[in-house]
Amino acid sequence: MKLSIFIEKTNKKLALEVKEGILIEEVLNQLGINKTTVLTAVNKGLVPEDTKIKKGDSLEILSVISGG
C-alpha cells in the first residue's frame, strides 16, 4: 500500500510503498529518522511509534528539536 507522509522539518510530502500493518517505528527507520527526535501523527492524531499503519492512513512526522 502507498503511505502518504509529510515531514514537517523539511516541508516535504512523499509516498512510500509499505506493507499494511507496518509499525511507524519501522517507517521512521526506512526514512533514516531517529524516533527520539520526532512526534508522529496519523490522520492528524498524535500516536506512539509502535502504532500499526492501516490502509488509507496518512502520516505526519514532527521534529521535537527546537530553540537554540
Binding site: N34, V64, I65, S66, G67, G68
Partner: protein, 280 residues
C-alpha cells in the same frame, strides 16, 4: 498531559524550586518549552495564591526566527493575562545578535548565551523577582553537562542543575528549571496536545555548533541505548553536590567595574564583549 504536569510538580517539590511568597519570572522565548512552562506555572499559581508570576522575554533580533516566537509569546500572555516584559539586544547594546556576529568574529551561541543571561538577571533583579524559571529540559541539561565535560569546564557544570548557582549573592537571581526531568519529546508532546504552539523551530545559528553535535550524539545513543539521557542526568546529579562544594571554596564574586553587575572578574563577560565591539 496530567502525567507531565504531575512530573513537573514533583520536580518542583523534590528540588525545592519554589518557596512561599516567591515572585517568579518565566524566561519566555515563545518556544514550546517556555510556553508550556508558563502554562503549567500559571496552573500552580492559581492554587498557590502566595506565589506571583510574570514573564520576561529577551529579543535577540535573530531574523527569521525570533519574530515568530515573539508573536506567539505576546499572544499567549494576552490570552492568559500574564504580565510580559520585553527587552532587546538592540535597545540594550545597540546591536541585534545578527549585527554583532557580522561586526566581530564571535561564536553566535556563546555570545547570545552571555548577553541573554546578563539581561535576564539584570531585569529580574530590577523587577524584584525572587526566582527566574527557565524551560530547560532533560535533553538540554544532559547536553550542557556533556558539552562542559568535553571542554573541561567543570566549574560551569557546578553552577548548573535544577537550581543554579554555587554561592548565594544578592546580585544573582536563582534560576530554577521545573522541566529538569522532562525530555524534549515530553515537552513537545505537551505543547502539541495543549495546542500551545505549532512552531517547533530551531535557531538558525545552532547548525554545526557544539551543542548541535552533542545533541545529535545523545539522540543517536538514546536510540541505541534507551535511557542514556536519564543516565547522564542522574550521574550529573550524583556528583553535583561535590562540584558545588569544591567550587564554592574558590568562587569569589565582585561587581563589574563598568556596569556593577555581579561578576567573577573585574570586568564581566558582557562588558568585555562590548569593549571588543567598541574597538572595531
Amino acid at each position: 498531559m496530567k502525567h507531565t504536569e504531575k512530573k513537573v510538580f514533583k520536580t518542583i517539590r523534590k528540588f525545592n524550586l519554589i518557596e512561599k511568597n516567591d515572585r517568579i519570572a518565566v524566561a519566555l522565548s515563545g518556544g514550546k518549552d517556555s510556553l508550556s512552562l508558563l502554562y503549567i506555572l500559571n496552573k500552580l499559581a492559581s492554587t498557590q495564591r502566595d506565589i506571583s508570576l510574570m514573564a520576561i522575554l529577551i529579543n535577540e533580533g535573530i531574523h527569521g526566527y525570533r519574530e515568530k516566537t515573539l508573536k506567539d509569546a505576546k499572544a499567549f500572555c494576552k490570552k492568559y493575562n500574564t504580565e510580559l516584559n520585553v527587552y532587546s539586544y538592540k535597545d540594550e547594546f545597540g546591536y541585534t545578535l545578527d549585527q554583532l556576529v557580522k561586526k566581530i568574529p564571535l561564536n553566535a551561541c556563546t555570545t547570545c548565551g552571555v548577553l541573554r543571561r546578563y539581561l535576564l538577571n539584570k531585569y529580574a533583579r530590577k523587577l524584584k523577582v525572587t526566582k527566574l524559571a527557565t524551560g530547560h529540559n532533560l535533553d538540554d541539561e544532559a547536553q550542557a553537562f556533556l558539552m562542559n565535560t568535553f571542554r573541561n569546564n567543570m566549574e560551569i557544570s557546578a553552577r548548573l542543575g535544577p537550581i543554579t548557582g554555587v554561592v548565594k549573592d544578592k546580585g544573582f537571581i536563582p534560576r530554577i528549571k521545573p522541566f529538569y526531568l522532562l525530555t524534549e519529546k515530553e515537552t513537545a508532546t505537551y505543547a502539541y496536545l495543549k495546542k500551545l504552539t505549532s512552531h517547533f523551530t530551531e535557531c538558525p545559528n545552532i547548525k554545526g555548533s557544539l551543542r548541535d553535535n552533542v545533541r545529535n550524539l545523545l539522540n543517536d545513543f538514546e536510540k541505541l541505548y534507551p535511557g542514556t539521557k536519564h543516565a547522564v542526568i542522574n550521574s550529573y546529579l550524583e556528583i553535583l553536590p561535590s562540584l558545588k562544594k569544591h567550587y564554592a571554596t574558590t568562587k569569589k564574586l565582585q561587581q563589574c567595574k563598568y556596569c556593577e553587575e555581579p561578576s567573577s572578574k573585574e570586568v564581566c563577560k558582557t562588558c568585555q564583549l562590548l569593549e571588543k565591539i567598541k574597538r572595531k
